[in-house]
């Protein structure tokens, strides 16, 4: 892996579900340290795109390059890339049979072969960062949604990834809990983490995004810095979407 190369380069990415063409030749480049917000109506392929990056979905055409390494048929490559690319899910996906601390130390110990003491120290550091170190010994089922999502972010951070993918991290949360998760994400962004966020939180996009990408029907319609994207959208579809999202 070449850390000087662009963090992510997608070229002509194609993805089919049966006969349904989910991604129609997507091309996107994300530089190291860049924060990209992806938005668009449901079913537009946003989630599919970022799930292709860490190969939770296999792509059918085009190339995916992470730090200059091209993802191909090679099994070992996928493991290597997953180590460097963290992911936060809509449904948190914390492991319910492990404590918060165990959730955070599992992957560093198994994948990075970190010692238990080091892994726990790192985990506590990140749990402090997401502001819930006091919940370390609890089980996910005992936490609120917002707390769970913050644990999920800490868990991803514990692998010390170069890139973080967010797949609608606030969509499953009650309104009063969205802010606490977004706060954590803003902090991360300010510290220079490379981030791709699929989200409908336009306030967040305005505040931290270097670029906003609008997708519809498996295509990238528009790609612009937030001030241009919100101030002067070029496409009709973008305008319609923005009026729906911001309208109320």
């Amino acid at each position: 892996m070449d850390l000087t190369a662009p963090a992510i380069e997608l070229t002509d990415l194609d993805k089919f579900y049966g006969t349904f063409h989910a991604l129609k030749g997507i091309s996107l480049t994300v530089a190291k340290g860049e924060k990209v917000v992806v938005c668009g109506p449901s079913g537009s392929g946003k989630s599919t795109m970022i799930r292709c990056i860490n190969q939770l979905e296999e792509h059918d055409g085009g190339t995916i390059r992470v730090f200059g390494t091209t993802l191909d048929d090679n099994v070992g490559l996928i493991d290597e890339i997953r180590r460097e690319v963290g992911m936060v899910f809509q449904q948190f996906n914390l492991f319910p049979h492990m404590t918060v601390l165990e959730n955070c130390t599992l992957a560093p110990m198994l994948v990075r072969k970190t010692s238990r003491a080091d892994a726990e120290a790192t985990a506590m550091r990140y749990l402090e960062k997401v502001r819930i170190p006091d919940q370390a010994q609890k089980y996910p089922g005992q936490l609120s949604g917002g707390q769970q999502q913050r644990v999920a972010i800490a868990r991803a951070l514990c692998m010390q990834p170069e890139i973080l993918l967010f797949d609608e991290p606030t969509s499953a949360l009650d309104p009063e809990m969205i802010a606490e998760v977004l706060d954590v994400m803003v902090t991360l962004a300010q510290e220079g983490m490379t981030m791709i966020c699929v989200t409908h939180e336009m306030g967040f996009a305005r505040k931290v995004a270097d670029r906003v990408v609008f997708m519809d029907k498996g295509e990238i319609i528009e790609e612009a810095p937030p001030e241009d994207f919100f101030g002067n959208p070029k496409s009709d579809r973008t305008r319609l979407f923005l009026s729906q999202v911001l309208g109320h």
Binding site: T69, D72, D73, N74, V75, G76, L77, I78
Partner: protein
């Protein structure tokens, strides 16, 4: 990064692993077959299915049709299969009826009946079936000898079996009559369950089903009347003649011990399934039915039972397959079911591999067709727009 070797390729790895898996299995099967052939031919046995047409030369103690020692193996196997099915049908029917009663007792409101149902289920479900079978068989054998038979309404009960007053008709006639009833019953079920008959009115549908059942019964009766030899009396009563019983219709201890064991044991399981089914019916449905002013019987027969039945059926299917397999316990007391016929055939003919193949084929056929029929029924009655769940 090293150049990706072919073994690192996901696609190649997938193909190789799958091919390897199949190859290992095939090698195991071929190896076992070859070893077995070598071992068997060392004992002077030829493989192949030609022996099926040779006569057996040994006796089978329970058959539904005329069988002698000169009959070939295939006939014996067929009789065994028929015995298994016969025992299966009787066992399943008995277990279902008794199980329904127990289940209703368990899910009713009367605490005394509930207690009785609970005791029944805990007792019969927590003891090995074969232990229960041995007990019933020992009980049957401990009955008085024929001289001191217990008499009850024309029937005689002794260690040799149960002797009932019997109709004098040939076995072929019985087979014909049973066939007529079975076909008509299947037809009736099809009329009631098939979607093709959804268009016509329910009353007409029910009348049609009734007609088909009646026609089947009439055909059966006709077969019996026509098949009866006029020179013989219609009914024979069992009578003591010397040391044994003459006349009547004998049920062997092996048969009824196994039937009782399967029925009572199966009923405990069916009872639990029935209770689970009734528990799955939503309280709201019952309240709605009561609020509409239906009588208790109508609530039960039109709302509660139909909904509960849909919840039970998928689990019942598994239980039925299990009970059919339990008929193989016949070998423990000497009832010649399919498995026992196979086991005796192996000892007498030595055609081990062939018989094991037939055994597997027979049970796969019985169980897959039973499951297929019941699954079909399940799909036919499943609530439209709901997912058909395997278990609740």
């Amino acid at each position: 990064m090293a150049a990706p070797s072919i073994w690192r390729s996901k696609r190649f790895r997938g193909a190789a692993i799958q091919a390897g898996f199949v190859a290992v299995l095939v090698a195991l099967i071929i190896g076992a077959t070859l070893t077995a052939r070598a071992n068997l031919s060392a004992q002077g046995l030829t493989s192949g299915f030609g022996f099926l047409w040779k006569s057996t030369g040994w006796e089978i103690n329970f058959t539904l049709m005329e069988t002698t020692t000169t009959d070939p193996y295939w006939w014996y196997l067929l009789m065994g299969l028929l015995n298994t099915l016969f025992m299966g049908v009787i066992g399943l029917a008995g277990a279902s009826i008794l199980g329904l009663i127990v289940g209703l007792m368990r899910s009713g409101r009367n605490p005394a009946a509930r207690l009785l149902g609970t005791i029944y289920i805990e007792l019969f479900r927590n003891l090995p079936l074969i232990l229960q079978l041995f007990f019933w068989y020992a009980l049957a054998n401990a009955l008085p000898n024929p001289r001191n038979s217990l008499a009850f309404a024309g029937a005689l009960l002794n260690a040799r079996g149960i002797y009932l007053p019997g109709l004098v008709i040939g076995r072929g006639t019985v087979a014909l009559a049973v066939l007529a009833i079975l076909v008509s019953a299947a037809l009736a079920v099809w009329i009631l369950a098939s979607r093709r008959f959804r268009q016509i009115e329910p009353t007409r549908q029910r009348r049609l089903a009734l007609c088909s059942t009646a026609a089947g019964l009439a055909l059966a009766a006709l077969a019996v009347v026509l098949g009866h030899d006029p020179s013989q009396p219609w009914i024979t009563m069992p009578k003591l003649a010397g040391l044994k019983i003459d006349g009547g219709f004998r049920i062997q201890p092996e048969f009824y011990a196994l039937a009782i064991a399967i029925m009572t044991y199966g009923a405990a399981y069916v009872g639990e399934i029935v209770r689970g089914g009734f528990k799955a019916v939503g309280r709201g449905q019952m309240e709605a039915a009561n609020a509409l002013g239906l009588s208790p019987w109508q609530v039960f027969s039109r709302v509660r039972f139909p909904l509960a039945f849909r919840a039970m059926l998928p689990i019942l299917i598994n239980q039925y397959v299990w009970l059919i397999k339990a008929t193989t316990l016949g070998i423990a007391v000497g009832f010649s079911d399919f498995f026992m016929v196979i086991a005796s055939s192996i000892t007498h003919s030595g055609q081990t591999l062939e018989f094991i193949a037939i055994l597997m084929g027979g049970f796969l056929l019985i169980n897959f067709s039973l499951a297929a029929v019941l699954n079909r029924l399940n799909r036919a009655i499943a609530l439209k727009g709901h997912q058909t769940t395997g278990a609740t």
